[in-house]
Symmetry: C2
Subunit: 542 residues, 2 copies
């Protein structure tokens, strides 16, 4: 079972140094500390275990080190920055694992850009040696790239010429959409196994600058000082303690999140519990409560649960989302968050919630929201319902249960990857509905929620159990591949961004190639990499 | 060999009736007139042969019937509009054929929308019976959808529940992006094999209206009359005569386009010849010349050549584009076209050129533009160079060959699927370059073209032959699958539109699913459709 929790004292592959406003994140991969058997992590190549540490480090920078304003990403190995995803790991992994691995590494790189865009930390890739494949893709996720000019070190994307696959971590999209490199140059670069060195790499826009070996550290430092200027951030971080959880057979129990697997039926219930009654109202209290504050702890647990379900429970095809809470307690939290959104910690908490919700959008499982009496899809928890592929709300006119409720946060705090709120995505055809929904009512009973379009179905008690049972049975009987493609298409209506291009277009092409015989067949390029045998292609163009 | 040329007198599956301003395009598929062996086209299901006729009909409407302002798309079969792509055809086709089939049907549906958007013809799907799968996808490509309410007829997308694949002709994207159906309803609809009938289909936005059987024709006619109003178009069409071509061994020779295959090296030269000296200057002369007018004939030939290469020559991985012409003759044509772009025929000629160039952008082969002395990438032909993955221009300072030249048409007449011009896509990072390029110079020699960024490389005579030879050898040695995914990612920087979502995201997912064992394996759903055996899925989610 793959564990997504770690902390700097347990890192095996990265070193995180904080020096005032500057963090240095150094890659120093331990060859033998692999997540699986059968490969060695030479030349700072990485597997999922290495990337889990990187994701943790970025997360910690945001919560534990708000004073940091520049992050230098570099390597402790001589002459090599990073050789990318380990090819033997890829060659021996299942298709599903490769796909999940790429998705997680993509999310980590998007998290770097999220930090830069929303929290203003500037990331500098200090390439003290060659950055190839995923190594260059890590660099291109940073704001600036500096390459040593030692006559040898280069940046490259050798996947197409050497491995017959794509750079799978956003590289192609970021070449033309982020660095806006001319497409013919991007074409040349992406087919050039040896890549490009300093001068030409700079001329083509692949890097921002290059310094000779003896001046490299100095050059990077000067740029860091330029970024820092005279400003500093006066804030003290909080500690992200390990999540505690109990796993007993088919139940995974966190404090606020509980996952129950129904393996025979290939679905899971994921229940999120709302906050206790007394929650802090001021930023001082929030800071004091730290990672125990509900919106932080509950969403960290939800994040871990989603990653666990993705990677460790591939046979679970459907997740029924449930929320148990007092609507007013959740709405009150949202009010506190909205009122204090300019405070650094509240900002980070909100941004983290948004990232976790995007992780849900991008999870290749079906989600149904189940709204029963005493459940509470209010405010931030309403996003779970809006993120679901469909929702069922029990219509009991006598109880007049009003467990669906909106808060100010639903209007913009949690953008999807396409830049829209889930509410905007839902009502693309009827934007005026948003006025009605964000009007005075705030809370909706089943009939109101169905009428306004917030839930898909609102069966009455007579039909409820049957309808849910049949819906689950039907969903889990369908082709899991067709569902993955369908959901990836229907969840992201409206505009596209670099993120959705990476998760949609690029990922789908990579997944396609990842199962083509030309890559993974007996004579495929990925299979034969590093062997005395040579790849043999079926040259038919598709 | 598949032939993409046809005409109404040869149609086997469609009937095109023109009645004043109204065209009726009726589907009446002949079961036995299939493109390949092994299946029957029951229930108005279609194969590529059926769609080639549809594409031809739409093309002819634009050129031969400018007076038509409303097109009713319907069926001559009782109780069925269209059952979509033939499943047994899909089940017995190679992966590459399925992919090419879907791409062509997508282009045909986008051509309907192009006609509606730019030429103002309104398409009405008159569903006199059930429209399922590709049948509903054809309807949703129309502007309006009317469904008979006979207690039986429905619209449906049964691909996911019945076949374990996606609706492959833009259906999912058009559901949420064109008709902007709420994503949870789109989810329900796309997993409901039997689909939805009149009332609910209308309520959910899947159709625009429904009429009882006895009032169906009347209802559709009334709507047509509403569209026509009192206006009429006073224009007389031209005839699209069959293209003449000569195919001798590895040479395919049209009047202005010549394709020469180098099968051993898996590449082709495609040369387009420019116009003769005397070209019409007035719309009356253009109208009289009709389909022999260079910009129409040359691009119709280019279109046919591209389709031929895609479907009939899968082993050709690289096309070297060459242009032979007198730059001034091409620029003079562009001037005439630009000056008369409001005339219906000139408008259609320009829109057709734009569609052919988009067909090139979407062709899964590499394109290199080769600019040698006496070649002419000027004006509209410059788009071929800009559409190429890279370009090589011989730098002979003595000759001062200026065969790269811009015209007014490069600034907007030929948008890519992403809505940008190829020039804008190329210079995303340096939009101010456009001013320089569209400045006074107009013509560029090799050094100027390289300096301003219009060509990728400008080798001198000493290096020229070697460099081209090596570039061709290298390109054709790479994995054809990786190249397809790479080119699809690099060619479309910048914004995304419904079209690019269909060709990128949706197509890539469909291609992925089209080779998954759950679809096409021994126990896959597509393989087992209509057989006594049942699909068995590997339920692992990817």
């Amino acid at each position: 079972m793959i564990n997504f929790q770690t902390s700097p004292d347990r890192y095996q592959h990265w070193k995180l140094d904080i020096n005032g406003s500057v963090a240095t994140l150094s890659m120093d991969v331990s060859e033998d500390q692999t997540l699986n058997e059968g490969y060695k992590l030479k030349l700072n190549s990485y597997d999922l275990g290495v990337d889990i540490e990187l994701a943790d480090a970025i997360q910690r920078l945001r919560f534990e080190h708000p004073e940091v304003r520049a992050v230098v990403v570099t390597s402790l190995k001589p002459r090599i920055f990073c050789a990318g995803a380990n090819i033997y790991m890829l060659g021996t992994s299942s298709h599903a694992f490769k796909v999940n691995f790429c998705k997680f590494t993509n999310e980590t790189r998007c998290a770097i850009e999220d930090d830069s865009r929303h929290s203003g930390r500037r990331y500098l890739a200090a390439l003290n040696g060659t950055a190839s494949g995923g190594g260059y893709e890590l660099a291109i996720a940073c704001d600036e790239i500096y390459l040593v000019d030692d006559g040898n070190s280069a940046v490259s994307l050798p996947e197409v010429p050497l491995l017959g696959v794509l750079p799978g971590t956003g590289g192609l999209t970021r070449l033309v959409d982020k660095r806006r490199i001319r497409r013919d140059r991007a074409d040349v670069f992406s087919t050039l196994a040896e890549g490009l060195k300093g001068k030409r790499a700079k001329e083509w826009g692949l890097i921002d600058d290059t310094f000779p070996t003896s001046k490299f550290q100095e050059g990077v430092n000067a740029r860091v000082q330029e970024i820092l200027g005279d400003e500093s951030v006066n804030a003290t971080g909080i500690v992200l303690n390990p999540l505690t959880l109990e796993q007993i057979e088919d139940v995974r129990n966190y404090k606020y999140v509980k996952v129950r697997l129904y393996r025979d039926q290939r679905y899971a219930d994921l229940t999120i519990r709302g906050p206790e009654a007394d929650q802090p109202k001021t930023t001082a209290e929030i800071q004091q409560l730290g990672d125990a504050y509900w919106p932080l702890q509950a969403y960290r647990e939800l994040d871990d649960a989603l990653l666990h379900l993705r990677v460790n429970e591939p046979l679970i095809g459907l997740v029924c989302l449930r929320a148990e809470a007092d609507a007013d307690a959740v709405l009150s939290i949202d009010k506190t968050l909205a009122a204090n959104h300019e405070h650094w910690l509240v900002r980070e908490i909100l941004l983290n919630m948004a990232r976790v919700l995007r992780r849900l959008d991008l999870t290749a499982k079906s989600f149904f929201a189940i709204v029963e009496p005493n459940s509470c899809f209010a405010g931030n928890l309403l996003e779970l319902l809006l993120a679901s592929d469909r929702s069922y709300m029990l219509n009991n006119p006598e109880a007049r249960e009003t467990s669906v409720a909106v808060s100010h946060l639903n209007a913009g705090a949690f953008p999807m990857s396409n830049g829209l709120t889930r509410m905007q995505s839902r009502f693309l055809a009827e934007p005026n509905k948003l006025e009605e929904i964000f009007g005075e009512r705030q809370k909706f009973d089943a009939e109101e929620a169905e009428e306004v379009g917030l839930v898909t179905f609102a069966p009455d008690e007579l039909d409820w159990e049957d309808e849910i049972r049949v819906a689950i049975e039907e969903r889990t009987s369908l082709s899991p591949d067709a569902l993955t493609g369908m959901e990836a298409s229907l969840r992201f209506a409206g505009p596209e961004t670099m993120d959705t291009k990476i998760y949609g277009r690029l990922t789908a092409w990579q997944n396609w190639i990842f199962q083509r015989p030309n890559a993974v067949g007996e004579h495929g390029a990925l299979t034969n990499y590093g062997k005395p045998t040579k790849a043999q292609f079926d040259y038919k163009r598709t």
